[in-house]
Symmetry: C2
Subunit: 226 residues, 2 copies
């Protein structure tokens, strides 16, 4: 038997007292532990986090473009950030995991932690309301919102790939449009991205050349595990 | 000079009376018409739409998996759906566009319309609050929410590609894992998707084989313009 989790302690850490503590248990339950798992709550929490952060950034940066707002939002809501928050909350001590997942580590463990943060947000929303979520999330994100700036640390895949290669003094990636299909207003671009250390060519396909390049670069980054 | 837009009529169509009508003008202004354009409002509106639809689906389908909820949400908030809503509102009559965009048609025009719907949602949020947005959006989406069902019309790229090829009595796509990198818990899969009518091979790269296949299929679909 697993030891009983100290949920009141977790509530103190989160800064929120659940009226219905079963919702918190539900949010902490991974699909490996029970069929009553946290994925539906995660679905809700993801959208709540998005509107709270979007609203905060919109007002905090009244002159910044939509592109920069989107990049800052991505930085604040992405899995890696949520994993950091989960670790600050020591969420790993409270998760309900099946026997297989208890031993898992690395990326898999990190994404379970990130998902649980979203599920907890969903649970608080159901237990209270969106304004309660907002107040709480702004506390959780206080430091991160204070530190975030438009245009830096919001790098796109092409930039990350270029800097990574430069760091190892490798040649820069080569992007080539290998195919364009469709009418002037409805084109599809296929772009290849080649880097010297990969013996394969990765392609990105999208409605703009720029997006196709980014898509190809993103896949190269996955491939080199960056 | 452009004719003056009948904004009170648009408000009646939307079912919302703006306290600050400038917000509506702002939401209708494409970047081609003015530097005070609607993209920041669109950024906000996108998240508001997402939480309202997520919450509605969560309660409407208490037993449906997160995957099905996500697919239904995508169907309801995607560009094509927003374009249909924009056309129901005859939004094209009210947009402020620059001279270049006035004549544009097809995909470009459709995405301007879809973006304007999101911007209007953002404007209503700023003019009122999230509960007002919720009530209004649930009216706009009443029929669509009544009709949506889990598991149908929510097809993933592999399914769409397969059915498309079957429709033309073509051979089915072939998926091959061409590369696996990383440790057991932190793998990256590269999957090729080949179809007989394309002389090129498209690859998808992701942390699971299934996701990589979907990514490759999605790119093939873009390429054949489906």
């Amino acid at each position: 038997m697993e030891p009983i989790k100290n949920l009141p302690r977790l509530c103190r850490t989160l800064g929120y007292e659940f009226k219905n503590i079963d919702l918190l248990t539900h949010a902490l339950t991974h699909r490996s532990a029970s069929s009553k798992h946290n994925e539906r709550l995660e679905f809700l929490g993801d959208s709540i986090l998005s509107i709270v952060i979007s609203d905060a950034l919109y007002h905090q940066f009244p002159k910044v473009t939509e592109g920069d707002l989107s990049r800052m939002r991505s930085t604040l809501v992405k899995g890696e950030t949520l994993t950091v928050i989960a670790k600050e909350f020591k969420l790993g001590d409270y998760l309900y995991l099946g026997p297989g997942e208890l031993k898992s580590g690395g990326f898999r463990r990190e994404s379970i932690l990130a998902d649980a943060v979203e599920a907890i947000i969903g649970a608080i929303y159901l237990d209270a309301d969106i304004e309660t979520c907002r107040r709480l999330l702004l506390t959780w994100y206080k430091q991160r919102l204070a530190e975030i700036k438009p245009g830096i640390n919001q790098k796109d895949p092409k930039t990350i790939l270029q800097e990574y290669l430069q760091g190892y003094k490798k040649p820069l990636p080569e992007y080539n449009v290998v195919d364009v299909k469709g009418d002037a207003h409805n084109q599809t671009f296929t772009v290849e991205c080649r880097i010297s250390e990969l013996d394969k060519v990765v392609t990105g396909v999208s409605t703009s050349r720029r997006k196709a390049e980014q898509l190809a670069a993103a896949q190269v980054l996955e491939l080199i595990n960056k």
